[in-house]
Amino acid sequence: MEGTIVQQLPWSKGQAEEALLSVRDMWIEYQAARGAVKAVRGVDFDIFPGESMALIGESGCGKTTLGLGIIRLLVKTAEIVRGQVIYRRDGSAVDVRSMDEEQLRQFRWQDCAMVFQSALSAFNPVLRIRDQMYETVKAHRSASRAEVTEIAYPLLRRVQLEPERVLRAYPHELSGGMRQRVLIAMALLLNPPMIILDEPTTALDILTQRTIIDLLRALQSDFRFAMMFISHDLSLAAELANHVATMYAGCIVEYGTVNQIFYEPHHPYTLGLIKAVPTVTGDFQDLSSIAGSPPDLIDLPLGCKFHVRCPFATRRCEEEEPELMHIGPEHAAACFYTDEVERQADRAWEEIRNPQGAFA
């Protein structure tokens, strides 16, 4: 199909044609009184069938906007300025951006479901779970209530809920962890090849978080869907991701396998995040925060958007914005000083593994 041919990314795991979803040169802007908020600025990535990719970054880096942009659920003030979102199924490729309302409606949920951040507001508060599930299925194909219940039962059991009780309940009658599990079960109703999860464990208690993480891992191996999850929480990526993309000021600044991102980061922002997060297990480890705060997305600085906060920055970084560059198999970073960053990452891990803390 014309317009669905995409450029091959040198750091991609395989051929772009085999990817389930390819995003190319995606730009999204919000219109604000002060000017255009450049929330997503030229993002490229592929997601392959059955893969799990984490999109990590701080609040306001554009990760949720990107997720919503993919399924075209952006608010009215936002606009996809440029870019392709190519979705492939059964050998055919289609650009999500060219879909009409009806095609979009089919695409959402049947091809790509989304689990939203706030589990309570994702439900209709006046409908019982049974009816929410029925309406979801009915929007895509003809189905009787009995049929939907039949699909819902094993799914709810699969997410460790009691189907009788949950189906009868209203959303407010369920706890946060239960609601999150119902949402995950609902995302699986139509057995979609891809699920986008926005902060699936944020605001949940530790033991509930653990349940959700283990559940997602088990479900993914059962149903073989591809998962893209958006999170500010590095530990969630460490648990669940095969690939991690770090986002900063609307761009992916580093992409790699989970081990590359955590153990061999090549972008100073990724390294900064890793050095800022404490672990529970083991000895005391010294942490450091990243100086300053994220830039104003309306009035972005020249050059590398991270240079103001970057310990590695030079004059060059102030003038020139580095592009995402291929630095190894499945690994890319947008920085002029990747070697220096890698050396410092080595030292940082050395210190974490062999701490010489005063309290030891």
Partner: protein, 336 residues
């Protein structure tokens, strides 16, 4: 810590503290029976899941809630039995930093007005020039630069991290000796959390401020209170208190063990190879319908019938300075 007397009388001590909510017929005890002491200059972290009573405990200690039973002692005196004047002094000595700086700062006021209100209210400054000077000093302590610009702004013009620093600066206006920080960095982005924590740590190192640090995040508690202590709460009770290194690396109570084994870590190999402790049930008991005996027994992997579901365990010292509320740990100690 150099004064002998500071050892004898802890800055803060709570004994048998409990607080109930609701009508007489449907009473729930959000905090049931909590006792601990915080010596001057120390950090005590209160950790637990949502609804375990940690925020209520913080409010009881800050004097914002009246206990239904038990007492809160400040420098040895029950704060609800002292005269009005001393109580007022207590309220300035203890300051609370809230989780959400969007909600805890008045959006209509400039930062200058927010900071100077308590200064004028408590006659801590003699003139406007003096107040301005004090603001600059406080901003220097909490690391807000450039102070001249920021003081003229409103809260919405600040970033989340800056706002939380303003809350801390406001708390410091009255020179508190004790700060209750309730999830004080939870809403702030990871990249700037550490600098906020270091700033709070400096308050203790340089000004001797004592801390009750309330959080649901065990890794944060470990980082902030490495040379302090952690108390773990479960459904209204403290079930384990210990010095931080031993609590995170050698937990005694099955609940603490389960919590620690469940925490996802920002290290793929570590987190994927962690030994997990499975619980018998996922459900946190309802405060309206508490299980008999140990409140954790329906979920506890080490549950012993006839013991744990009959007798509620008391928080007891295990002989090495740790306190644990578990029949099995006590039994183990006796055997050892």
């Amino acid at each position: 810590m150099s004064l002998a007397s500071s050892h004898d009388v802890p800055l803060i001590e709570v004994r048998g503290l409990g607080r109930a909510f609701g009508s007489r017929r449907r009473r729930v005890w959000a905090v049931d029976d909590v006792s601990f002491r915080v010596p001057r200059g120390e950090i005590l972290c209160l950790v637990g899941e949502s609804g375990c009573g940690k925020t209520t405990t913080g409010k009881l200690i800050a004097g914002l809630l009246r206990p239904s039973r038990g007492e809160v002692r400040f420098e040895g005196q029950d704060i609800w039995k002292i005269e009005r004047k001393s109580f007022k002094r207590y309220r300035t000595a203890v300051q609370l930093i809230h989780q959400d700086p969007y909600a805890s700062l008045n959006p209509m006021q400039t930062v200058y007005e927010i900071i100077t209100a308590p200064l004028f209210r408590h006659n801590l400054v003699s003139s406007r020039a003096h107040a301005w000077e004090r603001c600059l000093e406080l901003f220097h302590i909490v690391g807000l630069t450039p102070p001249e610009d920021l003081l003229r702004k409103h809260p919405h013009e600040l970033s989340g991290g800056q706002r939380q620093r303003v809350s801390v600066a406001r708390a410091l206006t009255v020179n508190p000796s004790f700060i209750v920080a309730d999830e004080a960095v939870s809403m702030v982005d990871v990249s700037i959390r550490v600098s906020l924590l270091s700033m709070l740590g400096r308050l203790r190192d340089e000004f001797g401020v004592t801390f009750l640090f309330i959080t649901h995040d065990l890794a944060l508690a470990k980082y902030f209170a490495w040379d302090g202590r952690i108390a773990v709460m479960y459904v209204g009770d403290i079930i384990e208190i210990s010095d931080t290194p031993r609590l995170v690396n050698d937990p005694q109570h099955p609940y603490t063990q389960a919590l620690l084994s469940a925490v996802p870590e920002a290290d793929p190999e570590l987190t994927r190879n962690k030994r997990r402790i499975a619980l018998r049930s996922q459900d946190i008991p309802s405060l309206q319908n508490l299980p008999p005996g140990c409140r954790f027994h329906p979920r506890c992997p080490r549950f012993v019938e006839g013991l744990c579901d009959v007798e509620p365990p008391a928080l007891l010292e295990t002989g090495d300075g740790r306190e644990v509320a578990c029949h099995l740990v006590v039994r183990q100690e006796a055997l050892a």
